[in-house]
Symmetry: C2
């Protein structure tokens, strides 16, 4: 057994993999605080809306074009559509669909889009096995917990060195959640975590292309498979998280392993998850807020703008630096220039503002050309300063310290409901279907069969 | 477009991803030297034999137990069996089967098991699309070339830091090969390489468990999928190999990028691939040779052995250090103690010597307990010194500088044929079937449909 190599003192130290496996396996519904259960319902509903909103996206269509000819029997449903395939295919596609609009949630400390890979894997499995909503909500909360704790221990180095944190950690969260939903015992749960960790992957070089969302779909699929492999008895290291040749050694610094397990079962990572008000990179949101505020306060005529100066913190500027002149909707989502331009031009920043045609439209191109961005180390993440200079020399300013949808200014339940409604309409759902899903999601733990949430599409007649 | 960030001089520099894509897309059969074509045939035959030998292994059975319920239509065949599934499932399973015996080939500079992920992906695709042997052999040679060149640029750091090189690089080789077989144009080929690179994964913490071979099956499947995604138009970075946030930045040192493309089309990595004489870790082979030599030369009675001293280079000792007392066949494959013991006890080191029962048998346990291993920095990789001290005080020694099957003492074609025959018999193939496959593989480039090589199993009556 390889354990000796990781426990050089030969003592009774229990590694992080085992501690996580025990925590997941032994967790009871009653262990979950009420506010965390509620946050889980919000996270799930927000995720489902994002999946519906992305279900007809080009990226989803192309992924299906490649995967469908290889897909297995109709065990689960592509949300917002009527195709049904095996659970692995569906987990991948539903995660991609829910991420492609860049409207999904964010664990702020790690910038992990926490719910996407976990919920996509879980809902596919839950639909196949007719699981109830309490089982799925419980597993979702645990999966997010494990995913974000692993992310905490690896951050900020993980993102800084070029990895895609949601992908690297998401596969482990998906395995944890699916392992819980499948009632794995502790040794099998530990192996599921290991088989997930050895599949951790995803380069941020894919950002701005379909490959970014693919990373997350891949994580969802592989986490589910890790749990299914462990269930049938496939073997793996029982120390894959903490080992120097395992996750911590490969992606981070093994000395920070304690962050994975400190306060486990007491502190809950879902408390640090925020829901976006705009379907684009979270780093752009305060700039959008500032522009929307200026537009209302000063009834801005965009054709009279001589120049516009945006000041943000250095990290935000670094993330967005490539994208002053975005060529596609996907790159527009990480463009401060484009987000500011459409906020002022359109007065709303929704899914249509990131269509390829909107990004290449003449008015957006012209306004972007008058925008300058600069960083100020005195600003922290989430702070933005926007100054507009009109052609008559008049200047107006806006300063945002926390964007709408941040942890400091969270979306309320009514706003999450409203966001869901808008996304569900993109998928063509009618009012009755939307109301039914909303009722089910806000009482998710009382739902007898989560499959109804996957089979959302109302046929045309 | 993200290219500017990687070409800060804005010049006409062509990145490694583009250079590889051009090389693969434009390569013609006539560009391949005759000796490399022949090495490709040897590699393919050796791989197919390993796949047959592992086709009924527990690991293969468990993998199928998890994957089969999710598998798609019968496009390709699990070699050595009669199950047929979609190409992605088959690529994964056939790679795992071909690696699980630890009998597959080795690119010596990187310790990449070069053929496994590439051939497994290719044969599945080739069977589905009724491709001919020349197309497959050509694509195999190119896939191995790309895989090992990437490995050269990342080694030795890749393995030293805990990654599984065959998995990390194999996905890229499989994508290159499948992209060639699918006739992708240069932009799509570059995206296939990128979609593969963003899936690069695999921890060596899995060594000694089924997870090790799973890493390689995962690579085969994902490389094939990367090519299929690129084919339908899925987008990805065109700079995913050389980018600081891409493969070189995440797994290695971007300054060594030149090793990927230097001499491309002139020097061929297949020249550096060796075929194993024994189904276990290549680092154990010289010790096995030494023991077999001693057994013959001195008609060793193992019950008279008082002690046995094995001296190897420090790296070899490090790789094997965990496994003085292996508990399973898989750990026995990386145990100098076990390999030496069975070589002396059985006089042959084949697949049965690594069955769990053989590893736990009393005579093997007893002899292993009398073995000591030590490293000598004066020895280089492949050198081994074995000394046996008998209970009457008599001492005999053997010194091996290059193990059988090394690049310095390669297996001849007749030995590869013989190895294949033994492995095919494990899968229950009869003499007629074996002769037919051998004839097809030694003239692979003349075969009209490679699918016949996948459909190898002869029904019982």
């Amino acid at each position: 057994m390889p354990s000796a190599a990781h426990q050089p003192d030969g003592g009774d130290m229990i590694g992080a993999t085992q501690q996580l496996a025990r925590f997941i396996s032994s967790s009871c519904w009653d262990d979950l605080p009420a506010h965390i259960r509620h946050e889980g319902r919000r996270a799930f509903l927000n995720w489902l809306g994002c999946g519906l909103g992305g279900s007809l996206h080009d990226t989803t269509n192309l992924l299906l074009a490649a995967l469908a000819p290889c897909a297995g029997p109709p065990q689960a449903t592509i949300i917002g559509r009527d195709e049904r395939y095996d659970v692995l295919t569906v987990a991948c596609v539903n995660a991609v669909a829910a991420n492609i609009l860049d409207f999904d949630d964010t664990h702020m400390r790690t910038i992990i889009h926490a719910t996407v890979p976990v919920a996509a894997a879980l809902l596919a499995l839950g639909e196949r096995d007719t699981m109830d909503g309490q089982r799925i909500l419980h597993a979702l909360i645990l999966g997010i917990e494990v995913e974000c704790r692993v992310g905490n221990a690896l951050s900020p180095r993980l993102f800084d060195s070029g990895w895609h944190p949601t992908a690297v950690c998401g596969v482990i969260g998906a395995a944890a959640a699916c392992g819980k939903a499948l009632d794995l015992d502790v040794p099998r749960m530990a192996r599921a975590l290991g088989l997930a960790a050895t599949q951790s992957s995803g380069s941020s070089e894919m950002f701005g292309t379909m490959g970014k969302s693919y990373n997350i779909g891949h994580a969802a699929r592989n986490g589910l498979l890790a749990a299914m492999l462990a269930r049938v008895g496939f073997t793996a290291s029982q120390h894959a998280i903490e080992s120097p040749r395992g996750l911590m050694g490969l992606f981070g610094d093994s000395r920070r392993i304690g962050e994975i397990t400190a306060g486990l079962g007491q502190d809950w990572e879902l408390s640090g998850v925020a829901y976006k008000a705009y379907p684009c990179g979270i780093v752009t949101h305060s700039v959008i807020d500032a522009c929307l505020e200026l537009r209302i306060a000063h009834a801005v005529h965009t054709d009279r703008i001589a120049r516009m100066d945006i000041t943000v913190d250095p990290i935000t500027l670094g993330v967005c630096a490539r994208n002053a002149e975005p060529a596609t909707g996907l790159t527009g989502k990480l463009s401060l220039h484009h987000c500011a331009a459409v906020a002022l031009l359109d007065g709303v920043v929704g899914v249509p503002q990131f269509a390829d045609e909107r990004v290449s439209a003449g008015d957006a191109v012209a306004l972007r050309a008058r925008i300058s961005t600069v960083s100020d180390p005195a600003l922290s993440k989430g702070q933005a300063r926007v100054r507009i200079t009109f052609d008559d020399g008049i200047v107006c300013d806006s300063a945002i310290d926390h964007g709408r949808g941040s942890l400091q200014r969270p979306l309320g339940d009514a706003e999450i409901t409203q966001k869901f409604e808008g996304l569900a309409r993109i998928a063509g759902l009618d009012d009755e279907a939307i109301a039914s899903i909303l009722a089910d999601c806000w009482t998710l733990d009382e739902l007898p069969d989560v499959g109804v949430l996957a089979r959302t599409r109302i046929p045309a007649n």
